[in-house]
Amino acid sequence: MAVSMLSAAEKRRPWILLAPTLAALVLLMLVPIGIMLVYSFYKFQTAGVETPDLNLGNWHEFFSDSYYHGFLWKTARISAITALLCAVMGYPPAYFIAMTSFRHKWLLLLLLIVPFWISFTIRTFSWVHILGEKGVINASLMGLGLISEPIPMLYTEGSVIMGMIHFLLPYMVLNIYVSLDGIDRNLISAARSLGCTNWQAFKEVTLPLSLPGLGAGLLLSFVLAAGSYVTPQILGGRKDSLFGNLIFDTIMKELNWPMGTTLSVVLLVLLGIVSIIYSRYMGLSTITKGLSR
């Protein structure tokens, strides 16, 4: 009934209002991805030259060559380690901010955002001066005479994970904070009144109710880590390249666009699948809630 009462102009209105966004999304996202997909079926002739005779060569190469699978596996492993470490390191500060009776909570939240004011690349480079052979740590330890040779810390898998945690931790903290902040304090009081110690009440009430935020943080960290290439480029050694670096090298160095686009589509699809699995169980709304704060 109500639907039929809308005039034609009223039916059009939402579409008119959506049009700019839809146009931008289609032109700037769907079309380029479509072009990439088409390119993945092109034939690579020599650096910078490809011919549009559609074939499955690139895809066959990707599925049959374990060189690519190794990158994929390493990327998944490092991203998972990064996401888990972020969760472990992010939960306590998020809990503290959510539970503190400090009156200027916004200040603590602002402190989380402050790192975003400095360029991501510069923040990543700062680790060179901390972990490097002549960096703060090695210089101090050698100055104190505790070590005679600098400890190799930079250009390792550890330094890559370190750098990624540095940039992902605020996302994790914010996501966990939002779900902790939404928990009714009376629930904790209720659990305490029924016989729980503080720690038992945390296990029974706070932790399970903050899982959506924790899950959202894990997903976001994992996806962003898996897609990163600047961090391993700057802080990683030759063998610490991730899938993103592989794509970068294939496109920018080998100028092999067909293979590069194939790899890009693979990463896009895989991360998409991870997100879909997550949203099936947790709902993606918690992420948008986390980001809108």
Binding site: D184, N186, L187, S189, A190, A191, R192, S193, L194, G195, C196, T197, Q200, E204, V205, P208, L209
Partner: protein, 353 residues
């Protein structure tokens, strides 16, 4: 016999703000006691300090004869019910109600039996497997009550448990809550700002204002014999009349109203009076009778009429300009504006403050 709850000179201050000031209270076992007062009067703070959610700055709290000041909340045997129910949203009704039993190391078969029994008491059998979100507000509040009473607490603390419910459901739950309390015999402390709830449900009412107890007594006592102007004004619809004491007539007191009319006050007085004293006489609106007959000593003019169907609310002006509100049940047509009427006030229902 030890009292279920004993508060001795409880003071609770947040910095310079004193939420509760020197409150002492003894609550007998099995009593339904209501802490009544406007928001910010300290009633919830007292409840929270008995629960152990806040610590008093000074004074002692005893539950079942045991001093609990330093006993953490989970070791006080209390049942707590919140305004917003506070059911665990991720747990089934069974797990919600069984929660306290689990932490009291009750064996599983006994938990199942007790949960079943508690659901029967709150008249919601068979919802064990549901989640709280699948129940209505009134049902959730029953579950919250079941969760609190299933652990057989020394005292049941109810923090405005009815105020989130809509009016009809609230009345229904009010009756039921009282029945459950009577049936289980659990000492209950009920916090509310609703005088109707307080009068209808309680064995004892404690009226609070600004962190202090204004008056305590049976509902009849606090309503009929208010000790302070605050109590008289907070409970029911009270008129305050300026008057001068003329003479003492045994138990009753003859006073002259500002407008010259004489009034006999037979409802007692909160403090001793002697002829010549300026006093305030309190009389409830429903005790003021508006009659067409001019035989009664006080004459007045109707300045406002609110027709409420079964009732009419009049505002009448006495000779001296004092105004009185009167609430009359309507057996005939309501009086009209500007009419001159007689105002009858039974001496029994006037009281000097």
């Amino acid at each position: 016999m030890t009292n279920a709850v004993e508060l001795r000179n409880i003071t609770l201050a947040y910095g310079s703000f004193v939420a509760v000031e020197n409150v002492s209270l003894s609550i007998e076992k099995g009593t339904f006691l209501t802490l009544l007062g406007p928001s910010g009067c300290g009633k919830t703070t007292i409840l929270r300090s008995i629960a152990g959610l806040v610590n008093p700055t000074a004074g002692d709290i005893e539950i079942a004869g045991r001093r609990v000041n330093d006993v953490p909340i989970h070791k006080r045997n209390i049942g707590l019910v919140f305004q917003n129910y506070a059911l665990f949203p991720h747990k089934t009704i069974f797990d919600n109600i069984g929660f306290g039993l689990k932490y009291r190391n009750v064996p599983k078969p006994a938990i199942a039996a007790k949960v079943k029994r508690a659901l029967e008491i709150v008249r919601l059998p068979g919802v064990e497997k549901k989640l709280p979100s699948e129940l209505s507000g009134g049902q959730q509040q029953r579950i919250a009550l079941a969760r609190a009473i299933v652990i057989e607490p020394d005292v049941l603390l109810l923090d405005e448990p009815l105020s989130a419910l809509d009016a009809n459901l609230r009345d229904e739950m009010r009756v039921e809550l009282k029945q459950i309390q009577r049936q289980t015999g659990i000492t209950t402390i009920f916090v509310t700002h609703d005088q109707g709830e307080a009068l209808a449900m309680s064995d004892r009412v404690v009226v609070m204002n600004r962190g202090r107890i204004e008056q305590m007594g049976s509902p009849f006592d606090v309503y009929e014999h208010p000790q302070t102007e605050f109590v008289a004004g907070f409970l029911g619809n009270a008129n305050f009349l300026q008057a001068t004491v003329v003479a003492m007539q045994g138990e009753a007191v003859q006073v002259r109203l500002a407008g010259g009319a004489n009034l006999l006050v037979g409802g007692g007085h909160a403090r001793p009076v002697k002829p010549g004293d300026a006093v305030k006489v309190v009389v409830r609106a429903e005790k003021v009778v508006v009659t067409p007959e001019c035989t009664v000593p006080i004459m007045a003019r109707i300045v406002d009429v609110d027709y409420l169907g079964a009732l009419a609310r009049y505002e009448v002006e006495l000779a001296g300009g004092q105004r009185l509100r009167a609430l009359s049940s309507l057996h005939e047509k309501a009086r009209s504006l500007g009419e001159t009427v007689g105002v009858g006030i039974d001496p029994e229902h006037c009281r000097i403050l």
